[in-house]
């Protein structure tokens, strides 16, 4: 519909196996760059909090800047790993049923992981 004047190449453009062209490829790269910084942040935090007691850990992670960093890390990692795992599933799983089921399970799992981490970080930050 409405595509009658397009060349076959124009119609194929932007359609990979996921029918979204390069958007996931680019998102994978952008989240990869942010992941480098955020993973470094998480590693530094892990070193600082190694062996610390509950009060100290809670105070440090509850600092608004630290909590914001943790939330950014959770969002970035989860999005990055979601599109990454989608590529893996698309590469190896071809069953008419298994493929859509696993693709959906990936989104569900990643969504739940993000919600859980966001709630935990919020609770730590707001001190409930």
């Amino acid at each position: 519909m409405g595509r009658g004047f397009q060349t076959p190449l124009r119609r194929a453009r932007g359609s990979g196996s996921a029918h979204e062209g390069t958007s996931h490829f680019l998102a994978q790269r952008v989240t990869a760059v942010f992941s480098i910084l955020l993973a470094a942040f998480v590693m530094v935090l892990a070193v600082l909090l190694a062996g610390s007691d509950y009060e100290t850990a809670r105070a440090v992670a509850g600092n608004p800047f630290v909590a914001a960093g943790l939330l950014a890390a959770a969002a970035t990692f989860v999005y990055h790993m979601m599109i990454g795992m989608q590529v893996i599933i698309e590469d190896y799983v071809h069953g008419a049923l298994a493929r859509p089921l696993l693709l959906a399970a990936n989104v569900l799992f990643c969504g739940l992981v993000f919600i859980l981490s966001a709630l935990a970080i919020a609770k730590i930050a707001f001190g409930a």
Binding site: S35, I36, M43, V47, M81, M85, A120
Partner: protein, 132 residues
């Protein structure tokens, strides 16, 4: 099972099994394996956050598991996977700029990323041990 279906008898191009394993090929596979491992290893970090959000008792319990020899072993593996994947990712980002595709350059980057990943993992554990 012998099938008369043309689809099953079509010739296939040579695949993985006909190639001699080499470094860059192993690194490519390891990037995917570490990525998939991190997918689940992230749960360890979330578990720690949930424990911290839950209160002192549960936090001490989870910290005890993480601090046991088994917990530390898992954390060491997860940390190595993270740094290995991070270095592999940086290699991908360099390739994305159109650089370092020649075999010597690619192999050099592969050895560099292995050394850096191992070094950073040890650094984190030594620093954590000193801080604890």
């Amino acid at each position: 099972m012998a099938s008369t279906d043309l689809r099953d008898r079509r010739p296939l191009s040579p695949h993985l099994q006909v190639y001699r394993p080499n470094l860059t090929m192993m690194m490519s596979i390891l990037h995917r394996i570490t990525g998939a491992a991190l997918y689940f290893a992230l749960l360890l970090g979330i578990w720690w956050l949930v424990a911290l959000a839950s209160g002192p008792e549960y936090f001490t319990f989870v910290n005890g598991i993480f601090g046991s020899w088994f917990g530390l072993l898992i954390l060491f593996g997860a940390t190595y996977a993270l740094f290995h994947h991070m270095m592999g990712g940086i290699r991908h980002l360099i390739w994305d700029t159109g650089r370092a595709f020649a075999i010597p350059a690619a192999e050099h980057m592969a050895w560099m990323s292995l050394a850096l990943a191992a070094g950073l993992t040890v650094l984190v554990f030594v620093a954590g041990w000193l801080a604890a």
